[in-house]
């Protein structure tokens, strides 16, 4: 039996009359790369915010790393990492200062921060750039750095909200190498993306349409089910049924 790290049951978020997320139920396993797909406005962000403890669900249940999303948001926050589509490091601080800051707010000791930052800089090959302001780095490096910082505190789950937006294919591939590595270490990856080639890299993929999860399976099974050659076809097949307009 695989260890479950995210479990939701009929998780719902309603804003007035608008049901942004409608009775979502799914499970994510430890070390899995879970793709969370959907057109703009399908409710991905709302669902993700609930899972991160940023937004209180209207109804339903969910546990993240074994903690309840209603009562244990503090515990959840300690056990997850997060990187958003917008770039998420401080551009006016240098690489080391960013690492120290994020290590600091996740409560790592000075010793831990020193060891981890050395390892991280070595791994990314950034020895020469340590004193450079992050704003001066190319976007691809920033994204890789942001991901490494997001898992600095060894969270059990890391949420990636369109992490590779605007990055070239080569760098995207390198970014996914980092993701695989983290997943091998047992970190669960929960990722949203608009790139269908990236969806192919995921262990399992869910498709959200109009606030509901319409499909959830491995990329291979989904392609078979919807008789498509690629995830692109699957996405198109599912998303064209959407009634909601993208925002």
């Amino acid at each position: 039996m695989k260890e479950i790290v995210i479990k939701t049951e009929k998780l719902t978020k309603q804003f007035g009359n608008f049901i942004a997320a409608n009775e979502i139920s799914f499970e994510v396993y430890k070390g899995e790369i879970f793709g969370f797909l959907g057109a703009n406005g399908a409710g991905k962000t709302t669902a993700m915010r609930m899972l991160c403890g940023l937004s209180r669900p209207t109804s339903g249940n969910a546990t993240i790393a074994g903690f309840d999303v209603y009562r244990q948001t503090e515990e959840i926050k300690k056990n997850i990492g997060y990187m958003s589509q917008k770039f998420s490091l401080y551009e006016d601080l240098n690489i080391l200062e960013n690492i120290r800051f994020f290590g600091g707010i996740y409560g790592l000791s000075r010793q831990e921060i020193r060891e981890k930052s050395e390892k991280l800089i070595d791994q990314l090959g950034l020895e020469m750039e340590v004193k450079k302001l992050v704003g001066e780095l190319p976007l691809g490096w920033k994204q890789k750095l942001a991901f490494s910082v997001a898992i600095l505190h060894e969270p059990s789950i890391v949420f990636l909200d369109e992490p590779t937006g605007g990055v070239d294919p080569v760098t995207r591939r390198q970014f996914w190498d980092l993701i695989y590595e983290a997943s091998d270490r047992g970190i669960t990856i929960f990722v949203t993306t608009h790139y269908m080639d990236e969806a192919e890299y995921c262990n399992r993929v869910s498709m959200m349409v109009d606030g509901k999860i319409e499909a959830l399976d491995t990329p291979g099974n989904l392609k078979m089910k919807y008789a498509a050659n690629s995830m692109d076809g699957v996405f198109y097949e599912l998303a064209r049924g959407a009634k909601r307009k993208a925002d």
């Binding site: 300690k78 997060y82 998420s88 200062e97 707010i105 409560g107 302001l133």
Partner: protein
């Protein structure tokens, strides 16, 4: 110590550590950004210099012309007196009344003095003589001040004359200008500049720095972290609080040593009251940042909403007593108005806390209210 207590202590220690790394990061932001640095440290110096040397309302060396048609002892003595003071400089003597108008038109002439013929004789025999003072009233305040200076000079001369003759009765007016005998402008504007600079720095800097995190997407990262949102706000406020106190020190040193501003009251009281005012400003900045999404909007609201009312309604540029009552009423919600009174009382009048407890209380209540409102707004945004 029980296990629970040990755990609790550990928790507090780690919270402190988080807090410190945050404050360190905020300081880095400030020191990295040349615009912020300029605003923080250039602004007070610029303001003091500007107000101290350029925008003074003391009037010195105003140019005057004299049309002396009498040319006798009395008229000459009077002209000499005008020349002696530092308020006036004699530009030239005219010969013809027609030249007066022309003289005013030709440039920065402020005052013309006309002494008619037979001035001394009239004074001697009729016990009454006339002098005409014509002033350029296009700037009414200056004209008023200058004619008062001129009348005083004439009054002095008259008193000298009277020493020879015995009057049956006389009233001596003994005027004393309390707290500021030399009528220096600094005593009026330095407290105003202190209020203005603290206001600008605290409101603008806090609101912009919080909104910047929202704009760049880093706020989301902070909210997902175990760092409590309330601490995010608090650690934003700490650096600006410290920097503002430093700023206050610079302004006070400059005004005391460069502008001869008196400092009669207790220094600690001024710093304590300023601390309170800084808190008020920080909470205004907080409220603004909670209600806006872009740095530009935050900046605009801070400037329009705080700077202009502070300039107009705090009482140091324009006396509040002369304003229509609706404006006087509105001025009561401008925090700088109360702080201005406090600073003036401490620095110039040398008063203690007993004299300013009311203003202090008002600022205190304002701060609490502002903090409550912004905390509520912040919570709403989170859910």
């Amino acid at each position: 110590m029980s296990l629970h207590e040990v755990q609790k202590e550990k928790q507090i220690k780690s919270k402190m550590k988080q807090f410190l790394s945050f404050i360190k990061k905020e300081f880095l932001h400030v020191f990295r950004d040349s615009k912020t640095m300029l605003m923080l440290f250039g602004l007070p110096i610029a303001q003091i210099t500007l107000f101290g040397f350029a925008l003074t309302n003391e009037i010195k060396n105003s140019r005057i012309v004299v049309l002396d048609q009498a040319k006798d002892i009395a008229s000459q003595e009077i002209v000499q007196k005008f020349e002696a003071g530092r308020q006036f400089t004699l530009d030239r003597t005219l010969n013809n009344p027609n030249q007066i108008e022309e003289a005013f038109r030709s440039g920065n002439l402020k005052l013309a003095i006309l002494i008619p013929a037979n001035f001394y004789e009239d004074l001697q025999h009729l016990h009454e003589a006339q002098i005409q003072i014509i002033s350029d009233a296009s700037d009414p305040n200056t004209a008023n001040t200058l004619t008062t200076y001129a009348s005083n000079i004439l009054m002095d001369y008259q008193l000298e004359l009277m020493q020879n003759a015995k009057l049956p009765m006389s009233i001596d007016t003994d005027i004393r200008m309390l707290y500021n005998p030399e009528l220096k402008g600094a005593t009026n504007f330095v407290p105003g500049v202190i209020a203005l600079v603290l206001m600008l720095v605290c409101v603008l800097m806090t609101s912009v720095s919080i909104v910047r995190e929202k704009e760049r997407g880093t706020m989301e990262i902070l909210l997902v972290s175990p760092f409590h949102p309330f601490l995010v706000i608090l650690s934003k406020a700490v650096p600006y609080f410290i920097l503002s106190l430093f700023n206050l020190g610079v302004i006070i040193l400059m005004s005391v040593f460069l502008l001869d501003m008196p400092f009669n009251g207790p220094v600690w009281l001024l710093f304590a009251e300023s601390g309170l005012f800084i808190l008020t400003c920080l909470s205004v900045g907080l409220l603004i940042s909670n209600s806006t999404k872009s740095q530009a909007a935050a900046m605009l609201i801070s400037l329009m909403g705080m700077l202009i009312p502070t300039l107009l309604l705090a009482g140091f540029m324009f006396p509040l007593e002369n304003m229509p009552w609706p404006l006087q009423l509105i001025s009561n919600v401008v925090p700088a108005k109360w702080f201005y009174i406090i600073v003036k009382s401490i620095m110039v009048k040398g008063l203690g806390f007993a004299a300013i407890w009311k203003e202090t209380l008002i600022l205190f209540v304002m701060t609490i209210l502002l903090l409550l409102i912004s905390y509520k707004k912040f919570n709403i945004r989170l859910s």
